[in-house]
């Protein structure tokens, strides 16, 4: 059975793909049938993934299983569709199928009554298929294919309620921003193909250590990193993720918190051997990640929309993971990816439950004291928030701690301090959200709040359990089993350090305390702080005006250039064409007056012609004689 699951791991992405095809071609008229097909297929995939994971983790750490079929090939270019099952892929398989399954079940409740339910589950299936294909990919070509496909699923699901202008624009923004990242990513892949003649991970990881030309490897690494910057919404391509919250909340939980946005982190982990060969590239990754973590956390404290706060939190945590990878703590990065997937999807689903319970209300200031009405949602949400804040012994504590440890142990003291600061900010903004939305003084919303149905609360409970326990796999309690399997040559594996544990926990606790003081006890009025630091508040509230700057650049540079070039095309190139036509017409117009209809004029022309011919002929005769 285990062997079977391993050799047939390709079924894991294929089943949801078949579900998509079935829904798209035949079943879209029957919403509930579509939903069942989709959930059934992802359920089977989940079981298969679990079997695969059990098998992989019972082998010795270095063992992998690889298989592929020919997809696109010609002399000099070979792109296969394959699968590479190793511990990293196995963990991702379990996380993706698990969260996807729970989210789809939850969606049964959340999307109830929506007219587009069939296509919703169709897209969900397509997304699951593409994401699983990405996870299993054994070469860069395949990863790029599925990379784009998850992007387009994200596009469809962000724009799912396409009747809203905001959803439409957010979907376009997400796809285009990702395309900018993919531009670099694709170039990086082209470089790899040209330099090494292969895109296969195993072959590349064998070839790269022997390749010493850093002048070539550095641009490759930087260009490849473009892709994760776009997909994992790192600064400066982060702008699409907050807007992506226009999609249905389960979508935000699955795609824009747990899985797809983590694909960038996954890619960096997967191609760790390339990045790790170039110290400058690693530094770049660490700095981009650290900056994003701080930058997004600072924005999150000034937002009022429950989903946007979570979105900025996601950005910040993704930055955290990138930072971990950048400092060389590959295990910690992937570990945080996994725990984050559980507790962040829990938080999003909880937020979705609140939004449904409050009848489409997303402003936390308009909620307030809904805890008594929605106990399950409240308490699972608090578990998620505690896990995110990194309070022991919840999962977030273990993974966040490893990252800070990695940053400290690798000598990146600046990034370590930044990480602690972010931990503090994270605890603060999460508990600002919790105190205001769930325990706030505002009672306007309390009367209409109601708990969600079981189909939504059960996934919350399951995820809450995962959010509590998932961290144990890499704790001393389980002998760091995770780290034994998920590792890369050259990645650091620091020893635990009690001082760091205490310090980061203190930072998180003080964040919670501050939030409690301001928003629950109101020792300091939030309004007063807002007044005092109105400049800073405005900057944060407007997300550092980055959207405005990009908008201005887009309108001025791109659309402006487009208009100028169109003018050029119409007036210069077409103008030249029309000028030629005009000249032809005009010369004909002029010459036709020589045709005056008089026989004698024509006779004169003829005579002149004969004379010219004669003269020419005579000249010829004379030259011949002479």
């Amino acid at each position: 059975m285990l062997e079977f699951s391993l050799h047939n791991a390709w079924l894991i992405p294929l089943l949801p793909l078949l579900a998509f095809a079935l829904i798209g071609l035949a079943m879209h008229r029957w919403p509930s049938v579509s939903a069942m097909i989709s959930i059934l297929s992802i359920g089977i995939s989940m079981l298969l993934s679990a079997l695969v994971a059990v098998l992989v983790f019972s082998l010795s750490p270095g063992e992998i299983y690889e298989a592929s079929v020919r997809w696109l090939s010609m002399p000099g270019l070979q792109v296969n569709m394959g699968m590479l099952v190793d511990p990293l892929a196995a963990v991702m398989l379990v996380v993706v199928t698990g969260v996807a399954f729970l989210v789809q079940v939850y969606s049964l409740g959340y999307m109830k009554g929506d007219p587009g339910i069939a296509s919703y589950f169709g897209y969900q299936s397509l997304f699951a298929a593409s994401m699983l294909g990405l996870v299993l990919a054994n070469n860069f070509g395949q990863i790029f294919v599925f990379w784009e496909l998850v992007g387009v699923c994200s596009y469809f699901l962000i724009g799912f309620w396409f009747g809203k202008y905001s959803a439409r624009d957010a979907a376009i923004k997400a796809f285009v921003t990702n395309r900018v990242g993919d531009f670099g990513f694709l170039l990086g892949i082209l470089f790899l193909q040209i330099v090494f003649g292969t895109l296969n991970f195993q072959e590349l990881s064998a070839a790269i250590p022997g390749y010493t030309n850093a002048a070539v490897l550095l641009p490759i690494a930087v260009l490849l990193f473009f892709g994760p910057v776009g997909k994992s919404a790192q600064f400066p391509l982060h702008v699409w993720l907050p807007d992506a919250m226009e999609g249905p909340t389960p979508v935000s939980a699955l795609i824009h918190a747990a899985t797809m946005v983590a694909a960038g982190v996954y890619l960096v982990a997967r191609a760790f051997f390339i990045f790790n060969a170039i110290p400058q590239a690693m530094t770049l990754i660490a700095i981009v990640g650290g900056l994003t973590a701080l930058f997004a956390a600072s924005i999150a404290i000034a937002q009022n929309d429950i989903k946007r706060i979570l979105a900025y939190s996601t950005l910040s945590q993704l930055g955290y993971m990138m930072m971990a990878l950048g400092v060389g703590a590959m295990t910690a990065g992937v570990f945080h990816l996994m725990t984050h997937a559980f507790f962040k999807s829990l938080l999003f689903l909880g937020a979705g439950s609140v939004i449904i319970g409050m009848h489409e209300e997303q402003d936390i200031w308009k909620m307030g004291n809904i805890a008594p009405k929605m106990p399950v949602t409240t308490w699972t949400f608090i578990i998620g928030a505690l896990a995110l804040a990194g309070i022991p012994p919840l999962s977030g504590f273990w993974s966040k701690d490893e990252i800070l440890l990695g940053a400290y142990a690798s000598g990146h003291t600046g990034l370590y301090i930044l990480g602690v600061l972010v931990a503090f900010l994270t605890a603060f903004y999460m508990f600002r959200l919790v105190f205001v939305a769930f325990f706030g003084k505002n009672t306007a919303g309390r009367d209409k709040a109601h708990e969600s149905p079981a189909v939504m609360t059960i996934p919350l409970l399951v995820l809450a359990v995962a959010a509590v326990l998932a961290g144990l796999v890499n704790s001393p309690l389980m002998h760091h089993v995770f780290g034994h399997f998920i590792n890369a040559p050259g990645a650091i594996q620091p020893h635990p350090n009690t001082a760091i544990i205490v310090f980061s926990t203190l930072a998180a606790l003080s964040g919670i305390l501050l939030a409690w003081l301001i928003y629950q006890r109101e020792v300091i009025k939030a309004e007063v702080i807002k007044e005092k630091f109105s400049m800073a508040y405005k900057v944060l509230y407007n997300k550092y005006y980055i959207d405005e700057i990009y908008g201005w650049l887009g309108v001025r540079l791109v659309d402006g250039a487009a208009r100028v070039l169109f003018w050029f095309d119409i007036h210069v190139i077409n103008g030249f064409v029309n000028l030629t036509a005009w000249f032809t017409g005009k010369s004909g117009e002029t010459l036709r007056y020589t045709e005056d209809g008089q026989v004698q004029t024509y006779a004169i022309y003829m005579f002149a012609g004969v004379v010219i011919v004669l003269i020419t002929a005579l000249c010829g005769v004379f030259t011949a004689l002479a």
């Binding site: 045709e595 209809g597 008089q598 004169i604």
Partner: protein, 102 residues
């Protein structure tokens, strides 16, 4: 002694008169007559060259008779056209016949 060159000069003058008449006269019948002059200039050439250069053969004479025949046909057709035009337009002035201009 009258030689070939005299004939040639004569025919050239005749041809010149014909050309001049054809290009400058406005009366269609005069133009037709000028064309006849040109044809006859050619005939003179044919006969003269046949006489002085290739006296053994009669090709030039033959051709001149040919030309006369064609000229007769041409004149008859031409005159018929002119008469037809005259019936319609009450004029044989070429300046009036420019229906085919530009």
């Amino acid at each position: 002694m009258i030689g070939l060159s005299h004939y040639l000069i004569f025919s050239t003058v005749l041809f010149g008169i014909g050309i001049f008449g054809m290009l400058s006269r406005r009366n269609a019948i005069a133009v037709l007559m000028s064309v006849e002059l040109m044809l006859n200039a050619v005939n003179v050439n044919f006969v003269a060259i046949n006489r002085f250069v290739t006296s053994g053969q009669a090709a030039g004479q033959l051709f001149s008779i040919f030309v006369i025949v064609v000229a007769a046909a041409e004149v008859s057709v031409g005159l018929a056209l002119i008469i037809s035009i005259y019936r319609h337009r009450k004029s044989v002035d070429l300046n009036n016949f420019d229906l085919l201009k530009w």
